[in-house]
Amino acid sequence: MRLLHRKQFPTSKDISGCAISGMMSEIGAPMSGEAIIRSIANMHDRSNGLGGGFAAYGIYPEMRDRYALHVMYDAIDDKQETERLISRWCTVYGDETIPTRPSALVRHPPILHRYFVNIKPEVMERFCDETEDDAIVDLVMTINNESKGGFVFSSGKNMGVFKGVGFPEDIGEFYRLDEYQAYIWTSHGRFPTNTTGWWGGAHPFSLLDWSVVHNGEISSYGINKRYLDNFGYKCALHTDTEVIAYLFDLLVRKHRLPFEAACLAMAPPFWPQLERLPETRRELARTLRIVYGGALLNGPFSVLVGHSGGMVGFNDRTKLRPMVGARKGDMVYMASEEGAIREVCNDPEVVWHAAGGVPIMAHLKEPEKVIGAEATARLKAHSCKLPAGAWQESPRAGRAAASVQ
C-alpha cells in the first residue's frame, strides 16, 4: 500500500475537480465545526476520497498574536530536523500534538503537530525593511522546499487548516472539528484527476492567514507561477490553488489593492464589457488588466478565500464552475451547490448565483471586538477595504444584481 502521508510534490501540475463550502458570521459569533462538516458532506459525490480539508478562523483566542504553525511529518526523525529549524528562527510559546480521533476511514495519517511562534528579534534583523509576515513566509518556504519530511500546512494567526486524504466529513471527524469554535469555516472535498493525492496536497492551501479552497483548473497556471516568481514566491506544490493564495498575498497584502480590485485583476471583464464601464472605473479596470496580465486566472474555477477579516468567493469570468451565495441575518454562506447551504441554513433571506468574475464579499463588521486591536490594526495595514458604497456599481455592466450585499 502506498503511504499517502509521505511528503511528495507531484512533478506536473495537479488538476482536480471538487466541492467547496464556506460560512461566516459577520459579527464574529463562534460556531463549532459540526455545521460545516454537514454542509460539505452534502456534496459527497463531488469528491472521491482523495482529499478533504477545512480552514477555521478564530480558533486560538488565547494565542491569537502568535503564528500557529501546523506541521505534518513523515517520521519522528523529520520532526527533530524541522524543529531544529523552527527553534533557530522562532520563539516557541507552546506546542502540542494536534488532537485527532482515530478512525478506520482515515488511514495512515502523518505525525501532526502544532507550534505557536513568533520570529526571534535577532532573526528579524536579517529582513531589513520586511515584516514578520515576510519572515514567516520565508520560513514556510524553507521548510517546505528543503526539509526532507516536514511540511507546514498552516501558518496564520488565530486560525488553522486541518486536512488530509479521505472524504472531507471523515477528515472533519478525525480532527475533532466539532470541538473548535470559529467565526469563519471553509471546507473542501477533492476529486483529483491525475495524482494519487497526499496529505499535504489536500485543500485548503494556506499561507499566513490566507486560506484557499478551490474547484477547477487554472489553465493560466504556467504564467501565474512565473509571474509570482518575479516577486519571490516559489510555487513548489504544483497546484493551481497555491498560485491563488500567493496572488492574494501579493495583490492584497503587498500591493495593497482592495479585494474587489484584486478580483478585478484576477478575473477582469472582457474588453468590450470594460469599454461600457463609466469612465473612471474603465480607466481603473483597464490599467489593472494591463499591469496584472500575469495574474489573470484563466480556465474554470470557483474559489473561496478566507482571511482573518472575512471571506471572498469568486469564480472565473465566464463562470465555468458553480458558486452559490446566501445570506441570513449576520451569516453569509458560499458553496458549490445550493443544497450544501440549505443543509445548514433553513430559510436563507437571499440566495443567488454569483456572476462570472464578480466577487462575493463577507467582512467582519466590528473586527476589534472579535479579533482584538492588534489583529485589527494588522488587518487594516495588510488589506485595504473599499469605503462603503464605493463599488456599488458592478464592474460587469448590467449585472449589478449579482453582488447583493
Binding site: K13, I223, N230, G299, L386, A390
Partner: protein, 505 residues
C-alpha cells in the same frame, strides 16, 4: 572571355505545344531570361540568368513554362556540395563577398517544429472562439510592478498610477522593419495600410518615412538606426513609437548598404541624402559604444517625444542576448525586440547570414527567464522576430514568453514574394524589392493591403482556435505559459534552456 564555371541554378522548360509566343514572359522577366527571336518567330531563353522567382510560370496564360531547380549535380560529396563549389567559383571570378537576401536558408532545425502545443480534455473545457469571447488585445510598453489606488475621492478609488505610453495591438503580430528603399513604395504602402486596417503596427525600417506615409503614422513604428536616415523631429512626432535599431538577426554586427542606383528622387527625400548617393549604415551607432550611451539615446528620444511614445530597442539574438536585453531594459527601453538568426534581410553577406547569431527560440526563452529572475520583466515588453512562418510559430513564441512578434518574410510572401532571395539585385519581378517603376507598379497597394489583412485575420483565427483548445480566452494567459508547451526530439539541455518539459512529462 572563357565560359563561366558557374552553372545555371534553374531549368526553364517551355512546352512548345502550349506556348503561343505571346511574349508575356519576355515582358515580365527583369533578368532577361526570356527573349523573342524575331527571325525565328520564337521565344528563346537564357537559363543562366534565371533566379527561380516563378513570375513567368505564374503569369504564362497557357501554363507552358515550368521552372525547376537545376541539378548542378557535381560528384556526390556531403562536404563539398554543389552549392559550396558554385560559391567558390563565383568568388574566384570576382574576388567579392557572397551576397544573399531573405533569411538563413540552410537546413538547420527550426526548433518551433520540435515544440508541441497542449489542448484541454475533460477537466477543463476547451473554448469555441466562434461562440465565446477570445481576446488577443496586446499592450506593448513598460508596466509598473503594482497599481496604486487613492481613496481621497468619495466616489470610489481612483488611480494613483499613471501608465507609461502603450501600443495597443488587436493581434500580437506586427510587420517587421523593412525600409522604403529596400522595398518599393507600393510594398511599403501595402504594409502601412494593412497595419492601420487591422489595428496593428508596421515598422518603417531605417530608411525614413516619406511624407505620403505620414497619415499612417499612428500605426507606424519608426526606426533610428546607425545611418540616422530620415530622422528629424517630424519623423519622431508622426510615429506611434520609435525603435532604436542596434542589430538585425540576418546580419548581426554589420551595417547596411543601399546602392546609389536605387536612390531616386523620392528615396532621396525620404532618407535625406542626395539622389544617386549610396546610403551606408555603419556597423555600430557612432554615438553608442556602451550601454550608458544607449541610455542617453533612449532618453534623448523620450525627451524629443515628450515621453508620449514607447521607445523600442531592437537587437540581433547573439550569444549573450539575455544579459544584453537585461541591460537594455535597465537602460530604459519600453520594448525590446529580439531578432533571431533566421531573420530576413534585403541583403547580407551569405556567411554572416548563415553563421552568425542564435535561434530565436533559445534567445527568447533566455531573455524572458533572465528578465523574470531579475524581477524586471514588467518594465519592458519583449517582441520576437526572425523566421515566423505560421500562426503556430507565433503561439509557441508567445507561450515561451514573447508579448508579440514581428513578421517580415511572411508578409512579403503574402504580397507575392517567391523567396528567390535576390532582393539585393533590385530586379524583383514581383514589384516588392525594387525601385524600377516598370516593376513596382506590378504591386497594387489596394490588393497588397487586402492580402496582408487577410493573412493577419487568418493567423488570428488560428491563434484563437489554438488558445480555445487550451482552455485560455485571453492572450495574457498564454504569454509565458510554458506549461502548454512540450518538446519532442530535444536534448535535456535544450529542454532546460527552453524551460519546457518533454512530451509525456
Amino acid at each position: 572571355m572563357s565560359k563561366r564555371l558557374v552553372q545555371a541554378e534553374f531549368n526553364v522548360e517551355r512546352d512548345p505545344e502550349r506556348c503561343i509566343q505571346c511574349q508575356v514572359c519576355v515582358r515580365q522577366c527583369s533578368n532577361q531570361v526570356h527573349a523573342y527571336d524575331e527571325e525565328a518567330e520564337q521565344v528563346t531563353c537564357d537559363e543562366a540568368s534565371c533566379v527561380g522567382c516563378q513570375r513567368c510560370a505564374t503569369l504564362c496564360p497557357t501554363g507552358a513554362i515550368t521552372i525547376k531547380k537545376a541539378p548542378p549535380d557535381f560528384a556526390p560529396d556531403n562536404n563539398w556540395t554543389s552549392d559550396v563549389i558554385q560559391n567558390i567559383y563565383r568568388q574566384a571570378e570576382t574576388g567579392g563577398v557572397l551576397l544573399s537576401a531573405m533569411g538563413n536558408d540552410t537546413a538547420k532545425t527550426s526548433w518551433w517544429d520540435n515544440i508541441l502545443l497542449n489542448a484541454s480534455q475533460v477537466t477543463n473545457p476547451s473554448i469555441d472562439p466562434l461562440r465565446e469571447p477570445m481576446e488577443l488585445t496586446t499592450f506593448l510598453g513598460a508596466k509598473p510592478n503594482a497599481v496604486e489606488l487613492s481613496f481621497d475621492d468619495q466616489g470610489g478609488p481612483s488611480l494613483a498610477t499613471k501608465l507609461a505610453p502603450q501600443l495597443v495591438l488587436s493581434t500580437p503580430i506586427m510587420f517587421s522593419a523593412m525600409s522604403y528603399g529596400a522595398i518599393s513604395y507600393n510594398a511599403f504602402e501595402s504594409l502601412a495600410r494593412a497595419a492601420g486596417q487591422y489595428g496593428t503596427f508596421a515598422n518603417s525600417g531605417e530608411g525614413g518615412l516619406h511624407k505620403d506615409f505620414w497619415p499612417h503614422g499612428p500605426n507606424m513604428i519608426v526606426q533610428v538606426a546607425s545611418g540616422r536616415f530620415g530622422v528629424d523631429i517630424d519623423y519622431l512626432k508622426v510615429a506611434a513609437a520609435v525603435e532604436i535599431k542596434i542589430g538585425q538577426g540576418a546580419k548581426p554586427g554589420i551595417g547596411g548598404h543601399l546602392p546609389g542606383e536605387k536612390v531616386d528622387e523620392r528615396i532621396s527625400q525620404t532618407r535625406m541624402i542626395p539622389v544617386g548617393s549610396d546610403a551606408i549604415s555603419p556597423a555600430p551607432h557612432h554615438d553608442i559604444y556602451s550601454i550608458e550611451d544607449l541610455r542617453q539615446l533612449i532618453y534623448s528620444l523620450k525627451e524629443a517625444t515628450r515621453y508620449q511614445k514607447p521607445i523600442s530597442v531592437k537587437i540581433a539574438a547573439v550569444h549573450n542576448v539575455a544579459a544584453i536585453a537585461s541591460g537594455i531594459v535597465r537602460a530604459g527601453a519600453d520594448i525590446v525586440a529580439i531578432d533571431g538568426y533566421k531573420g530576413g534581410t534585403g541583403a547580407a553577406p551569405t556567411m554572416i547570414r548563415n553563421n552568425v547569431g542564435i535561434p530565436i527560440e533559445f534567445a527568447l526563452a533566455a531573455v524572458d527567464d533572465r528578465l523574470r529572475q531579475e524581477g524586471i520583466r514588467n518594465q519592458a515588453s519583449v517582441v520576437a522576430c526572425g523566421g515566423f512562418r505560421s500562426s503556430a510559430d507565433v503561439v509557441k513564441a508567445i507561450a515561451l514568453g514573447a508579448d508579440a512578434v514581428y513578421i517580415g518574410t511572411a508578409a512579403l510572401v503574402a504580397l507575392g514574394c517567391h523567396l528567390c532571395q535576390k532582393c539585393y539585385t533590385g530586379k524583383c519581378n514581383w514589384g516588392i524589392a525594387t525601385q524600377d517603376p516598370y516593376l513596382t507598379r506590378r504591386l497594387n497597394p489596394d490588393i497588397g493591403a487586402r492580402r496582408l489583412v487577410n493573412l493577419l485575420r487568418g493567423w488570428s483565427h488560428e491563434i484563437k482556435e489554438m488558445m480555445g483548445g487550451m482552455g485560455i480566452n485571453a492572450i495574457e494567459s498564454l504569454r509565458g505559459n510554458r506549461e502548454h508547451l512540450r518538446g519532442v526530439g530535444l536534448s535535456d539541455r535544450e529542454l532546460s534552456i527552453l524551460g519546457i518539459k518533454a512530451a509525456g512529462e
